[in-house]
């Protein structure tokens, strides 16, 4: 129960923050952190729990964002309906792509996801009439709840916070549910999972669909916040890499991992860009790369699990030592 108390406490703390913090820039960083944490949560479902290493997740993010932007700018549809459409398209596409691609293993699955995201990017460039191609879509700044556009940061802050809290809660719940157990079982050993009565293909597909849905929601939030979207910005390989990066650094397959990863990397990245300015401009991405290599080689399980292990009660450690 303590866990709940603490979660609520932190949530309350974060909720109270905008009352104290007046600098919009800080709120902006929090909003970005919430967004990326949610996006990383989405990646975590398929990449962390189900162990399917996708580097094409930007496609779903982009599909959500574009569906909403096209809907509101071209057809005057409310962004709420755009959101629904984006989620539905993302889910359908993820099912259509996931089903055949799950047969591929290791690097081949990863390659196929990269190729898939590229195809989506190229199609976006190609369907100019709908997407404005490389020009991108500008959303007119018309504040209002109906348009899901706000003039201040605070509404975005709370929506972002809710998005992160919900997706994290979802991951938390998944981790403790039959569904989550099944995903992890499939990741750890597919044959053994089947022998335990788990239809591995089906559960991977479910995970891909839920994950795509969350990614699409993140995309919608992104576009409503940025009010501008272009293929370079959302379908970039770096977008997919970042989602994976944060999850892996935080701890793939743990509900807290993506949040920790995002909370570390986003502010750090903003800080590095501001501070490294001048002499070391642009080095923050190189820094990300090095961190990734180091994490993979030194603490492949990520920060959360490593810290957890350090904190393990003596009793558990004793048992483990006895075992060895």
């Amino acid at each position: 129960m303590k866990r709940w108390v603490w979660s609520l406490f932190i949530l309350a703390l974060l909720s109270a923050l905008p009352l104290v913090v007046e600098t919009q820039f800080y709120l902006h960083i929090f909003i970005l952190t919430f967004l990326y944490a949610s996006f990383a949560n989405s990646w975590n479902l398929i990449g962390g729990y189900a162990g399917q290493l996708s580097l094409g997740h930007a496609a779903f993010f982009g599909i959500g964002a574009y569906a909403c932007a096209i809907g509101s700018v071209k057809f005057g549809i409310s962004p709420f309906i755009g959101l629904a459409i984006g989620v539905i398209i993302a889910v359908l596409v993820s099912a259509a792509i996931g089903y055949p691609c799950f047969r591929l293993r290791g690097p081949f699955y990863t390659l196929s996801t990269i190729a898939f995201a590229e195809v989506v990017r190229l199609l976006t460039l190609y369907w100019r009439d709908l997407t404005e191609g490389a020009v991108g879509i500008l959303i007119p700044f018309k504040p209002g709840v109906a348009n899901l556009i706000f003039s201040g940061k605070v509404p975005y802050y709370y929506i972002g916070l809710a998005m992160m809290a919900l997706s994290t809660f979802l991951c938390y719940h998944v981790e403790r549910s039959r569904f989550g157990y099944y995903l992890v079982a499939v990741r750890e050993d597919e044959d053994a999972a089947e022998a335990c009565g788990i239809r591995s293909a089906r559960y991977k597909l479910y995970a891909a669909m839920i994950s795509a849905a969350i990614a699409a929601v993140c995309g919608v939030f992104y576009v409503q916040y940025m009010l501008f979207i272009d293929p370079e910005g959302v379908f970039n390989l770096n977008v997919s890499i970042q989602a994976a990066l944060m999850t892996i650094i935080g701890g793939a397959g743990t509900w807290l991992g993506p949040v920790v990863g995002a909370a570390l990397l986003i502010p750090l990245g903003e800080f590095l860009r501001g501070w490294l300015g001048g002499a070391a401009r642009g080095l923050h991405m190189a820094f990300y790369g090095i961190v990734l290599i180091v994490v993979v080689m030194v603490i492949p399980q990520g920060i959360v699990v490593t810290v957890k292990n350090l904190l393990k009660t003596k009793a558990t450690r004793k048992v483990e030592e006895e075992r060895r």
Binding site: A192, G197, I198, R199, V319
Partner: protein, 245 residues
């Protein structure tokens, strides 16, 4: 009369030109313990894979509890039908705790998390791993992992349990601990158990009935006594009388 659980008829499986399993038939009843033995590469594990659905047969049929499961896919469906198995090379879900491992098995019958965990607890107590419930499966010792696999398979509440070399690599003391446990599976849960095993002494002590496979064919079957006396079996294991010397 005990009810027949599994009936295998003329089971055949080819890999390219190689006939790994060649027209094998046998059957097993509730609560029965059967040994499936044979020299290296005889095709025992292939037979297990055919029964558990990890492979599909080229010809022949498999009946399980009055149901034709010859082509039932995927393997998960067979588990849900009531066939549990372990793997020759143990496949625990390494990153998960012991309790979680068995819980995953139990979830097959108890969708409710609480029930599944309770069920898993019972199985862990049964195999004597309850004390290690929070330990990561991969840090268990080999005998521990073998027990874990059995507990996980039993947690799916099978009517038929396939044990693939659960005693290989264990010391005689460890084996003598495992034997009664397997016997209790059969007795207390009324499950039919087929054992593939290389530790002959253990198989002979454990099983009521032995089927001997050689080069994919069934060459003999009977009680342990009958089988060990069978010249065909001796030849399969020890080779023909020397004729070069």
């Amino acid at each position: 009369m005990r009810r027949n659980v599994l009936e295998v008829k003329d089971l055949t499986r080819r890999f390219g030109g190689l006939v790994a399993v060649d027209g094998v038939s046998f059957q097993i009843a509730e609560g029965e313990l059967m040994g499936l033995i044979g020299p290296n590469g005889a095709g025992k594990t292939t037979i297990f894979n055919l029964i558990s659905g990890h492979l599909l047969p080229t010809s022949g049929s498999i009946r399980f509890l009055d149901m034709d499961i010859t082509h039932l896919k995927p393997p998960a469906a067979r588990c849900l039908a009531g066939i549990g198995r372990t793997f020759q090379i143990v496949k625990p879900f390494g990153g998960l705790t012991v309790w979680d491992n068995v819980t995953i098995g139990a979830l097959a019958r108890h969708p409710d998390m609480g029930e599944a965990r309770e069920r898993a607890r019972q199985m862990l107590e049964f195999v004597g791993l309850w004390g290690y419930k929070e330990v990561a499966a991969r840090s268990l010792t080999l005998p521990g992992r073998k027990r874990l696999e059995m507990a996980r398979a039993m947690a799916t509440e099978p009517k038929l349990l396939l044990l693939d070399e659960v005693m290989a690599g264990l010391t005689p003391t460890e084996i003598s601990e495992v034997l009664p446990m397997i016997r209790r599976f059969a007795e207390e849960f009324n499950v039919a158990i087929i054992v593939v095993e290389h530790v002959m002494a253990a198989v002979m002590r454990l099983c009521e009935w032995i089927v001997v496979i050689h080069h994919g064919k069934k060459i003999s079957e009977g009680t342990p006594k009958e089988v060990t006396k069978d010249p065909k079996v001796i030849e399969a294991y020890l080779g023909e009388e020397a004729f070069i010397a």
